[in-house]
Amino acid sequence: MVRNIIIGLLAVAVVATGIWGFQEREDKQILKVTAENNYQRAFHELAFHIDQIEDQLGATLAMNSRRQLTPALADVWRIVSLAQENIGQLPLSSVDLGKTEEFLYKLGRFSYRTSIRDLEKEPLTDKEYETLEKLYDYSKEIREEVRKSQAMMLANGDQWLDIEEEMRATQEPLSNMVVKNLEVMNKSIQSYSETEWGAGLASIDDLNGELKEALDGDPVTKEEAEEIARKYLQINENTPVHVADTGNGLEYPAYTIVADDPDHETNYYMDMSVNGGEPIWFLQDRQIEEQNISLNEAVEIAEEYLEEHGKESMQLVDSRQYDSIAMLEFVHLEDNVRVYTDLIRIEIALDDGDVVGYEAKSYLIHHKDRDIPDPKLTNEEARDRLNPRLDVMEDHLAVVENDLGQEVLCYEYYGVIEDQTYRLFINAEDGEEEKVDRLNQSEPVYDFS
């Protein structure tokens, strides 16, 4: 009797497990299909957009009037950003598509810049026309490869999930045909990458390269580096400081420094350039206690600190308090002109006023002796260029970097339109509006607890 009951129970258990397992399988299947669908959609959209890019670029070649050209180029810019987004949604992060993405990025910038220009006054130059022709050629190439991959996927019923699986499993480069095709495409673009893109487009921002160029002081030894670090970190002779070389992937030679902080039982971390022995950044990890000093006192500490370390004539341009940390931004002040490119950020702990963070990349790259010319426009003339609805509250002279990466002298205005604060830069030479920022600083806390 007991045996029968047990058998009965077991049978029920087996059937239940079976049903449960079946349901799980169904669920998993549904999830898999959903994931695959997302990938498929991204890929087919990508193919479509690449097609459109080629179409539009081809059409621009035949156009002559501004009325046609401007919208066509604006459209290229729009489609390029869609295509970039599609690429970001595909599981291709370990496939080398760098050149293709770079190409899309530059194409986007080129078409954007050309489309916002007044082509009536400044028509396309021969050189730009040539660039456009070349761009069309590459886009044809990309389109062909993408179309081929797409056809292959459709014909073989390949799944992105399988490709993803394969990537996860193997250490070797993939043997999958679709992926190989894309890599071939990337290679073919590589050979073109030297095209003339025009000012400001040729190189992508290369911070490390710029740093390497800017850091041209005499090399310092590890011992000297240790000495400098002690000064910057304000620690005494007896505290251990460990100096090491960084990896060779870094373009500029630098030391990585780890120093003890006996006061807080933690460490300082710092990178210092070998050439010139300039700290590039340092920071400290520690729990910062209750606030004891005010933001204003923190600013004084930071100003003194900068002075002490040879960064003279720095002016505070922004200060923010995050709980008990003060985040301060200083720029160099040259003849009463704010040089925004020479920027140093300092973090002060508001419990005991220690400097817990320092970052000077931008300062190191840009700072030099400048001979700032007198502004051609007067303050009033520049003010006339402002939006009349803007209620100007404050103005300065400033040097900023414009879109083309050149330093320009500007009038800087802070103004208010309906409770919203704006910062505008008006070129002091020709009155161009170089930059307009909407300043926004506090954000309501959404509390759901």
Partner: protein, 345 residues
């Protein structure tokens, strides 16, 4: 019919309450010794905003963050009364404010803690300056407008009640208790709001404070770095926490910096979420660890990275040599090792 009777009573009760409030408010001296400057947060800023609003210089929300709106209010005050126009709130200005304005700390803090939308104009009964609970970031503000023709006793001009010593009243024009400006608030999606915009129930002030009274230090708004929202920071903190929670602090800043470097790089998506949720980009995203609750350290690391700290040396990739499965990653030029991660281009 009952309703009629009730609504008839309301103005009466409110008048009583108002009178009670006006009598009760005595000047409180709460400013600490610090010089308050732009960017500061905390109680002093709450008081500063409340006092400036009291005499009509500040019309924004009282939220405890010394932001641009507060800055201009301070500067206007300074130029009006012949102080140095520098946006720094020093002892002299604090003294003047304390003498010239009333600060009802209890009212302001309670309203802040309860998430009410409220204002603090002088001479205006507090009752009508206060929205319902949660009104600040929730439903449309629906205060009874003072001038809406209710039986409200129209207030005396700001300051008129208290005999001011030296006060040149800040031009009646701008000092007008220009009541709740509904549009000025960052009111998000309006929620279905059952309550009609009728005069508020006369109870609220008697009502006891809600539970979550988070000590004295209220921060109902917060500083955010330019270009990022608090929510972006949160998503990035989740990613950093999921990826590098066991790492030293520099390692966490470096991971956050890699995310930022990718956002700025042409070969990666252009948004924080685009970079983080790119398929196969981060293991913490693939295995769901990104949905863990991040800690304060991860958040700080993200803020540091957004503010320009980059211990990784401008790296775009990093990997854990013990667990890396892709051979490809080893071919990248390596910059340095921080904790368990190798950072590379």
């Amino acid at each position: 019919m009952k309703r009629n009777l009730f609504s008839f009573k309301i103005p009466l009760i409110m008048t009583f309450i108002c009178i009670g409030l006006i009598v009760n408010t005595s000047p409180t001296y709460a400013f600490t010794d610090q010089v308050i400057q732009r960017g500061a947060t905390g109680d002093d800023v709450v008081e500063l905003q409340a006092r400036l609003q009291y005499n009509g210089f500040y019309t924004g929300t009282i939220n405890g963050v010394y932001d641009w709106g507060t800055y201009w209010a301070v500067r206007n005050f300074q130029s009006e009364f012949g102080l140095d126009v520098d946006g720094l709130v020093g002892p002299q200005m604090k003294d003047m404010l304390e003498r010239a304005t009333n600060y009802n700390e209890e009212f302001v803090k309670k309203a802040l803690n309860e998430g009410r939308k409220f204002t603090h104009y002088g001479g205006t009964p507090k009752e009508i300056q206060k929205g319902p609970k949660g009104s600040r970031d929730g439903a449309q503000p629906q205060q009874p407008q003072p001038e809406a023709g209710e039986a409200q006793p129209q207030q005396p001009q700001p300051g008129a009640g208290e005999a001011q010593p030296q006060q040149p009243q800040p031009g009646a024009g701008e000092a007008q208790p220009q009541q709740p400006q509904p549009g000025a608030d960052p009111a998000p999606a309006p929620q279905p709001d059952p309550e009609p915009a009728a005069p508020e129930e006369p109870v609220p002030y008697a009502e006891e404070p809600e539970v979550q009274d988070n000590e004295a230090n209220i921060q109902k708004a917060t500083n955010v770095p330019a270009g990022y929202s608090e929510n972006d920071i949160r998503i990035m903190a989740q990613a950093v926490y999921g990826e590098a929670r066991g790492e030293p602090y520099v390692g966490q800043v470096a991971v956050a910096a890699v995310i930022i470097n990718r956002i700025n790089s042409p070969t990666f998506p252009n948004t924080a979420s685009g970079v983080i949720f790119e398929p196969r980009a981060f293991t913490a995203v693939a295995d769901g660890q990104i949905y863990l609750e991040p800690n304060e350290t991860a958040r700080r690391a993200v803020i540091d990275a957004i503010n320009g700290q980059d211990p990784s040396g401008n790296a775009l990739y990093y990997f854990n040599p013990d667990t890396a499965t892709s051979g490809w990653i080893w071919t990248r030029p390596q910059i340095k090792r921080i904790g368990k991660h190798i950072f590379c281009h």
